[in-house]
Symmetry: D2
Subunit: 468 residues, 4 copies
């Protein structure tokens, strides 16, 4: 699938004379979590500055002269982001840098608040002036308004006001605070290398800079990184399983967002995805000639499926990684080449073959339909689609930018109708139980499949989503 | 491998009201043949114009307004190029457009001439003024100097003067000429869709625009495309096998350059590469836990190797496709992260495993060494490297930009020394016989492995290469 | 003189379907008031948007497509600015656009507040978060904090808290407010054309768009422009002459900043400057061969001086208007060409002549010294410098960015010493009385000459200036 | 006037370690001779390189790092150009750099050839391939074709083939050749400073770098500058006055193109222009209140006119030097603001006054008409226009880009009709005799006034101009 927009990526590094360079590298490895903008806030112990811009990490940072541009900066936090709509999006780039009586601080946020509107109105009534349309700015004003003189206490007062998903990095001139919301929706982990500490969304960022993985920042926890010392502080009580307010790690981080080489929520993404393939093979086997993944989203599950059923795997669809997102088709063009620009089937692998096609998920179904059509056009005999996640039927309020529920194909069509719409010989999704079995754990938010969310969402908010 | 620089990509389209748009799409699919510059010459029947620039296809053409910028252009040729060194490389972008008494024409070239220096000197003595440092300009001056009034005859007179590798597209205001050198070093194929014709380096360009593959332009042949009519003309006699002047398709097009979803020299690249993996498995089996390809160059061979020996395949190394080539490391940085930026191993697939690692080739060996080191660092128990091409020991005079032979590892070290240098438990290359068996054919140039070239290279030229 | 940095330029237009285009034109005519950044906020009655950027008006707006980019925008305010120091100056571009419960509004400011620090600290204590380092943002937070529900009252509450110089434009989605501080330091005037109203810093902006001049916004007054209706409201009582809090129009607006074709403070700049030349001729005549102005700052006064004494005027020094400010000299260069790049004397007009050279003012004296040296080098016999303003000895707290008082030549040297330093045959400044006589009025701030300011400046602020 | 396009500017410097920097400065001072493109070729004695680009000198060279970018370059030639029409104008930037068996050389040209077409056809027949549409490239091919082994002789052979106007700089790795055509249409002068020599279009370029003026390169002469030695060589015999082939210095260089602070053809431009004003006052006096120049083209003549008749001069029209040429008006705009953007009258100087308005020339008359209208709109009582050159009635074949003769107002209307068209109270031009008297010399090309040219122009060429 490719219709889901991506979450943000976070990384912070302390106590390293190349902190900005290593943060840039970390952002490279988190690029898949947001290609719209990137930024780094860095401190020399006296002042914090920010360099940021629209575009990919490479666009913003490739002209850095690390040996000159960031003198004595030993500490940094970075952010890649998927920008919201709106013209003035240059303003919405993170990290946000604040100069305030409480001292300079920078803030980077991954997540989505469900009481943002109320808080914003309340703050504006008291005279706060918002400069951006980002939820993240709410943290800034709550911290600024706090009567606590101690900065750490001001942060805690602020996060206790918000509801929703947030993995948060806040940097003062000498400290990085990492916070995860009580449900633990978005990932955040910590690592160590030499005398430096690192905090990041995914472990692939730690790998790149050769840091040792030290585990997750736990849900409801704050880590305080200062030089080479990490302190942990429990902010929220441990939530009770099965109750509102329970743990709710985003299962889509596992299914699609995160890199296969990452540990996320302490689990190997690659192994999880391969397991979904194996379970899918058990639940919905096909007697086929060949297993072919939709690259790259179906790769791992296809390996599991092929292995389980001893059907040969072929990388029968190639992906063109050069494809530029901003490519504009001529209006008058007769045909739609966009899917073909990205994916090309290898004819002699497909012609007259019975194919099991594997993908991670289906959102609207329109792109999947085009892919099926391409396979048909090169002579596939049968096409059996297997999907490594259950049907998506409900919106996400916690950071995944699914389309309006009305546009979700599984919300509007039966399995048989979807199969017909896509032009398939057969179609099966993994079961929810099978999915959770693959994860070997239960503490996930699966609201997009089940409609049951770990946090109660006000009716006003759900209405807004449905009418969007 | 990644140290080989890439060849150029060619595409031409006739008789289509969206000729420029389709040519752009074609260039997208040939992007892997040259990322340094791209250009398109287009004709409305009256005048030829060129749009070109440094960078990838997307950089040069993403702002095209196809509905307005190219009125009535029904015919176009495009080129992606790997630029040579030198400051003024903006001048060296192709296609080259010429305004001359003989009429306007545009020219795009993939290949390398071995009598370029002599021809250039001869032409300058007669008053020709070269504007670029490209071999390709020699064709231009030879055509301009020709006493033939007929343009087609002038082209033939010109190509008969040059020696070396060339797939060539020449466009006048109403015709596209496609020519392949007598040895057929570089590929060129033709296709058809509706009332239009297309000529391109690889068939993946035909697939993208949904054209039907109609076969190769044969070695020593000229195709003349005008509207929907293709005429063929034999320019050079069929060469005799095994003799100097024999056929010499570049085997590296098969091994590395071309896209796996292409037909090149009439053969499926994917199937060829998978076959090398199978033969390698026969020639040099290993009793291992897992087969892992170096992505993406080792993917197909790894599938063949795994399939043959029934050892499970894992995509145990991930590739970061966001990596920007122009990324500059700080000079003072202690460690080299460039390889890690591109490739990250998945620790739990490698830890304590006996691994067969598959790649297409080794050039200098330095990058391979870094990759091996990365696998060691995550706890591989044994690493057995299998290479799907023989040791590279000789220079290429026909378009592949290998380093100086002195830097080729197989030219300087024994197999045992290479194994030691790379830190391997075992190392094997496919045999030359095995390689040719995978191609099911013999008419290849394998000079980089054997030192025996299909065309004789003057001593002066070979000396120059060795002393570079 | 050229060492004074320039003030900001303001323009606002109501009720015109080409409001953005006309505002751009107005900014062109106010370009001399700030070349560092330019911006326009425009309203379609529903929403306000801003387009702005670093650079001159042309840099920011030359690629506007007026027919498409600003649909239905009938009202706009624009700003050209001289940016303060600091890296993040892109943030400091005006107009500032605010989205707030009180409604969207945009704000543009020309001037300097002398109680900015105190107000900022007070606001931050109450939780306000400043996004920029501009004084102007203080107005924004004061308005946001105001308990007044009525926007106009909120503005008035805000401006009553600040002390200093400000001409201010504030635009809501349907109204433009123009406000001048009680001393009237900076100019602001209003005009009318068709059914539209315009408010601008100088009348030259009105001329350009063919609007009729309707007089000044008076000191301490607010004008409220809505469609074609202008309402005036007295915010501050009329100040008493000669008392602290008295009127204090900036005399440097007359001497240097404003364009000669403008009416400023209701007076013709050209006529004022020519009058200073005549009075200077009376006060300090010379028996010379020729009167030559330093272009263009001395042009008008030179005309007056020449006319009064019947000495022929020659435009004996040419100015190169192509000169780019960002031109960087090589460090190793032996000679300083920067003054020569701008000014070239015409040798045959100067050789062996007794010259009266006219300029508007001297700040540090270093540039003037270079100009004198250039005239000497082409053979001037005598050089008599006449300056159309008194010696500058004191800092400006109200918007003119003079250097530190320690660097003002008239603060450190006697007249005789200055004459010697500059290498002159004679030197005279106009008297303060003569200057005010030229203006035919007394209500000016002449603090930079006399040290006596219309508003009392706190000791803390004066100390800061002296120690800068 | 502003409808004449401008000529090109040339400068060359030998034997100076800052040759490139000084050449850049020189180009700054010749910017008025061409704003479309700029370039510098520089030599370190071994190799010549070129830096050039579209735009003004500042656009192309402001980011030079003179201390690093041009190591050991002791010799350079520079060019500013007014580009011809056509899309690919980036190719047409000069200097042109040529790598050829005869050795590297760079060439910069100011002028226009009248046998360009014939020569180009002849060269193409012999196989030359032109890369640009510039006349200048003809010199390159003629030199390349020359059988002379000696480079100097090859140049001379080349220039003897061409007819038309050319001031030419040609640089080899150690020598600069400066050549002026036999009629001497375009200026070229030489200077000296320290151990360096300089050759430039106008003396203002010499002034800027503090070089001593040493006189003109004479018509038909070649100067050879090598290190600190200048050699002169007569290429063409001295032409006979009054005969075809006679001297023909372009009088428009004096009237409009050149800077007032320059010596051109050995004469002071300022003094010449002031003289035209005095003679105009004698020939066509007016009893007026005030003399006002159109800035800046009428400034000098206005001084002369005012002085002669003792009528006060006022700088009653201000010029906005910020005006950007590429400013685009909205299509739907009701009014034309372009003239107003550049020029603003000072109302109180004009209201109810009898004005003598002075300009250098009238071409189409449309812009002049707008200026008159602006003066009328601010209440001028009478407007008497005096023009410091005779009526322009004929095309220029020698480098001035006048519009088609059909569009020249003086070619289509009588004096009375022009006066009426412009809305004047009276109109007078200087006489041709008066003009030449102002120049104190007769050796000028005045073909645009008289139709009598110093070189015979083939009928084919004249026809082409008339039908353009």
């Amino acid at each position: 699938m490719a219709e889901k927009k991506e979450a943000c990526g976070l990384i912070g590094i302390t106590n390293h004379r190349e902190a900005v360079y290593l943060t840039t590298l970390g952002l490279f490895s988190l690029q898949h979590r947001g290609e719209e903008a990137a930024g780094i806030a860095y401190s020399n112990g006296e002042r914090i500055n920010v360099k940021s811009g629209l575009g990919k990490v490479h666009d913003v940072f490739s002209n850095n002269d690390y040996d000159k541009d960031f003198p004595n900066s030993f500490q940094a936090i970075g952010h890649t982001r998927y920008s919201t709509t709106g013209k003035n999006n240059a303003k919405n780039i993170q990290p946000t840098l604040v100069d305030h009586l409480k001292g300079q601080f920078a803030l980077a946020h991954n997540g989505n608040l469900i009481n943002a509107k109320e808080l914003k109105m309340e703050l504006e009534k008291m005279g706060s002036v918002f400069q951006t349309s980002m939820d993240s700015e709410i943290f800034v004003h709550l911290i600024a308004k706090s009567k606590h003189l101690d900065f750490e206490e001001a942060i805690i007062e602020a996060v206790k006001r918000v509801r929703g998903s947030y993995s948060l990095l806040i940097m003062t001139k000498d400290t990085i605070y990492g916070i995860r919301d009580p449900q633990g929706f978005r990932p955040l982990c910590v690592g160590k290398f030499g005398d430096s500490l690192v905090v990041a969304s995914e472990s692939c960022a730690l790998d790149l800079i050769e840091a040792k993985y030290m585990g997750q920042v736990h849900a409801g926890e704050m880590v305080i990184l200062k030089n080479n010392v990490m302190e942990k502080r429990k902010i929220f009580p441990h939530p009770k399983p099965g109750q509102p307010g329970r743990l709710g790690r985003c299962i889509f981080e596992m299914i699609y967002f995160s890199r296969p080489d990452s540990l996320v929520f302490g689990k190997s993404i690659y192994s999880f995805r391969k397991a979904t393939g194996r379970i899918l093979a058990e639940e919905s086997p096909v007697d086929a000639d060949v297993v072919i993944p939709i690259p790259d989203s179906g790769n791992c599950a296809a390996l599991g499926y092929s292995e389980k059923l001893k059907i040969p795997l072929e990388l029968g669809i190639t992906k063109n990684h050069y494809f530029g997102r901003s490519f504009i088709q001529p209006e008058q063009s007769e045909r739609d080449f966009l899917v073909k620009l990205k994916l090309n089937p290898i004819k002699n692998l497909i012609l007259r073959k019975k194919i099991v096609l594997i993908d991670d998920s289906i959102v609207r179904g329109t792109t999947t339909k085009k892919k099926i059509k391409i396979l048909r056009s090169v002579g596939a005999k049968e096409i059996h689609l297997r999907i490594a996640s259950p049907p998506i039927k409900h919106p996400c309020y916690f950071g995944i930018d699914f389309p309006n529920p009305k546009e979700l194909i599984a919300n509007n069509k039966t399995l048989a109708e979807i199969k017909k719409f896509l032009g398939l010989d057969s179609l099966a999704y993994i079961s929810l139980a099978g999915l959770l079995k693959s994860a070997e754990e239960n503490n996930f938010c699966v609201g997009c499949f089940s409609g049951d969310y770990p946090l109660q969402v006000k009716e006003a908010v759900t209405k807004e989503v449905l009418q969007a």
